[in-house]
């Protein structure tokens, strides 16, 4: 009897243990994944909402949220709603480090998306120990080629092409279209500019004079006027490449207006510094904007014949009320759509390692508004790997230079700049990805 009781107890204990094991084994694996519950995925973004950079980039988190809300209204990702927590870093490295750390420690986000800036994110990545914490660092908005180093930034995925790539494409455009003209470079004197300088060098392009380099935040009207006055002594119609932010492009173009030098030069503004809406908002005359050449990997936000642009513009109207749809909103929604596809590709049992593997394996096939291919693979964390050359008109619309869209692809190293036959994937129905 005693023995039987003992056996019964043993059986009962075994049964409880077994049931417990079964319950445990059926619990979703993501139970222990930070920022993920059965009903929610928490994402975080540190970017400038205020300060001088907030003027241009302040729309990014709101646009991403708008797209996520649209997805949430349509069932979320495998039943989970996406919450995007946005923190303002004012485009300042120390603030970015603080806010990114807050996103990880206080907000307990699953992943970061769309972090912005080279100096800011360099500091934030280390301060918040993103590598140690294995935090996915998705679709960062900087083209600094240093972020392609998977040893140093093992969880980072870029979305922009590198500045070196852009410089190589610009060099080809100058060679193809402005051979024989003098050319000059005015660039920010940090990784942004020096990455560009390196790209021009790799492409074999030699500027007529040594590049004019300026520290970030130091380009004043007087400095711009002095630089342009000096360059204007060169005969012909030189090409001036502006490799800086849009506010600096505006300062230089306004200096050219003051000196009546707008038609003296062919203006070539890098993609970071050529947002037409911002140029016009900062007081650059439409006639000056007209003709500025740039490079882009996205369609123009004013081109509502583009199905991606149209879809995102519609989402913006409904979910981001009162915000003008422009290139920043377009890029932000595009990154949000890439994020949703990455979450889907990672599967229902969402983990940090899983989403990074999914992007490596499938990211190059994600649907995206970009007109150039995505380059994700096990060995590459670069997003877009090319550009098309555009020219702004008085309305600030970017049209293919020469009237025909030509896609160029290249790498950050010594690879050639090649014309691509890339055809982007079709926009998912209603802008809602269904990939797996």
């Amino acid at each position: 009897m005693i023995r039987n009781k003992s056996m019964r107890r043993a059986s009962l204990v075994s049964a409880i243990v077994a049931t417990g094991a079964m319950v445990l084994s059926t619990l979703p694996a993501q139970a222990a994944t930070p920022g993920v519950t059965a009903t929610e995925i928490k994402l975080g973004i540190s970017s400038p909402l205020t300060g001088s950079a907030g003027l241009s980039y302040g729309k990014v988190p709101g646009a991403m949220k708008a797209y996520f809300n649209y997805i949430n209204a349509n069932g979320g990702v495998y039943g989970r709603k996406i919450t995007l927590i946005s923190r303002d870093d004012k485009y300042l490295p120390t603030a970015a480090a603080t806010q990114t750390t807050n996103l990880i420690l206080k907000d307990n986000v699953f992943a970061l998306v769309g972090a912005l800036g080279t100096a800011t994110h360099s500091k934030a990545y280390k301060a918040a120990a993103l590598a140690k914490n294995n935090v996915p660092d998705l679709f960062i908005n900087t083209g600094f080629s240093g972020f392609t180093d998977q040893t140093k930034y093992p969880t980072t995925f870029m979305v922009l092409p590198t500045y070196a790539m852009e410089a190589k494409v610009i060099a080809k455009a100058i060679k193809d279209n402005f051979a024989g003209q003098a050319s000059f470079l005015i660039a920010q004197d940090d990784e942004f500019g020096t990455d560009g300088v390196a790209g021009f060098k790799t492409a074999g392009h030699t500027f007529t004079l040594a590049p004019i380099l300026y520290p970030q935040g130091s380009m004043t009207s007087a400095r711009a006027e002095a630089a342009l006055t000096g360059l204007s002594a060169v005969p012909g119609k030189p090409v001036v490449v502006l490799f800086g932010t849009t506010d600096v492009t505006a300062t230089i173009l306004k200096a050219a207006e003051k000196l009546a030098l707008t038609t003296k030069f062919t203006w070539y503004a890098g993609s970071v510094g050529a947002d037409a809406n911002t140029l016009l908002a900062l007081g650059v005359k439409p006639t000056t904007v007209n003709g500025v050449i740039s490079a882009s990997f996205m369609p123009d936000a004013k081109d509502l014949t583009d199905p991606y642009v149209k879809q995102f513009a519609d989402i913006n109207t409904k979910y981001n009320k009162g915000i003008t749809f422009d290139n920043y909103v377009l890029a932000a929604m595009n990154s949000a759509m890439l994020t949703v596809q990455a979450l889907r590709a990672a599967g229902k049992d969402l983990t940090r390692a899983g989403i990074m593997s999914a992007i490596e394996a499938k990211g190059s096939t994600f649907a995206s508004a970009g007109l150039v291919p995505l380059g994700y693979s096990a060995t590459s964390r670069i997003g877009y790997n090319g550009y098309w050359v555009s020219q702004l008109n008085e309305k600030g619309e970017g049209k293919p230079y020469g009237g025909k869209l030509v896609i160029y692809t290249t790498d950050s190293g010594a690879g050639a700049v090649e014309v691509s036959t890339f055809v982007r994937p079709t926009m998912p129905k209603n802008g809602i990805p269904t990939n797996s």
């Binding site: 300060g51 004012k90 603030a95 360099s122 500091k123 240093g146 300026y214 935040g217 130091s218």
Partner: protein, 551 residues
Amino acid sequence: MKNLKLKKGLTALITAALVATFTAVIPSTANAADSCSNTGFIDGAKYVAFQKCTGTDDNGSKYEIRMPAKFNGMLYLYSHGIRNQVLLPLIPVVNPTGTYSKPRSEPEVAPGRTTADQELIAETLLKQGYAVAGAGVQVNGWSVPEAIEANMLLVVKAKDMFPKINKVVSWGDSLGGHISQSLSEQYGIIDAAANLHLAGSAANQYSYANDVLWMYKTLFDPTIKGNGYTQPVSATDTRGYMELIGDIGKLLTVLNALGTAIKTNPTAPVWPETATNVPDALKAIPVRSAILLIGLLAGMPTQSTTYDASSGPAGPLETTFGAAISPALAILENTSTALALGVIGNYDAEMRCGGSIFDNTATDYSARLGDNGTIFAAGLSGKTSTAGMLLFLNRLNPAAPRVAASAAAVACINNQAAYTGKITVPTITVSQTADQITPAGYVQKLKNQYEAAISNGDAKPGLLLNIWNKPPDSYTEFAATGAAVTPTEPTTGTSHYMYTNDQILVIAKLLASAGKSGKLPSVATAKSALKNDSSMFIDPLFTPELMPQDK
């Protein structure tokens, strides 16, 4: 030398048979003049009685023990921070009230910002039934060996006088944290330790200070001596001392000139007139960039009590100020406090070790900049300016002569007792993330040492808990004029400032728990204890940058 020999002897004895053997070998400690008195204090409606015992050990270190009438068996052993060995005349900023003009040798029994705070902490522990004790080490300056010995003698004395002591927990701040850590690792007499803004090794702390000093000399005033002060040949030989006093004056002049230049024109402040070595081309760079570069190369935090390296005055300069000016001003503010300690401490170390302890003949300052060249590109006035300044600091530049150390002096400073990370008892560290005197990198080094010790089988895991004190997300306040307002009390998480009484008492509680159980409180428990304090955090994965001198 005598101290080192004695220390080795003590170690062997204590590990063999601890108190009995020790007291038998050094009976004189029991014979030293001890004085005990019964006293107490009122706590609400209660009178808390305790016995206060003071005396001096054989080496001349004073001690104090306070034993409550209702004792629970645990003694808190406190080690105070560094005290100046070198006595100074009244000097504005550095020694305005004469604090550093007289020898200080009184024991302290608890940490605190002020004497009143220290009393409050001591009384709080006493009424909870804990005993408190501390030594006033007979030698000041970097006197780690002497302090360890004084603490050991004190523990022996306390146990001899109060046999009910069955647990001893050690705590200390700054150099006292270093002493506490070293003591807890090596001698088997401590049950748990809590070390507040722990100092690094002597060699690295002095290298840190000397890096700053050398760059100030090289860039701002080549007449600063900085190193190799004349060693006295007699008790009345004051040549080296006068060289030190001269250097302090020159540094104050430089700091004043830098502050004035930035106040006059924060965007493009001019270099001091004393920067006679620097070519005009370099002086075209705003001097704030040179200040920032010095701090980054030395490993100094870019946040200070006034400047958060983020905020700017409302208006067109807001972002530029946060990106390019605020970090430099933070470094300048941090330097002004760190440099005084550095130059005086360095002089003291040279006197202690008989020659220059600093050697930067092989230091590659350019390589030290690393990612900070990217992160602070705006503050450094761009890559080109940075390259120019680094070129000037290059060891091949005859205008920037390097300092060669005395091999004997280096050996001497390296032989100062130091912790090794072979942690054997529950250990808690608490540090500011932006401490300019004992930067957070020193705790990271301890963490690395501990991890290595675990890997090598020299330590068991789970014995180190790191608590961090951080600044608010943004905190610089600006007056209507646009000038930053220095707070009346250092901003939490910045500077080398003692924690609040509430924070200290939480640490004390965690320490007691560790001492009693032999185990660290869990991270969850520790977080819970700190949950009402948003300036404190615990994250095992938080990894401050190692100091460049430690890489």
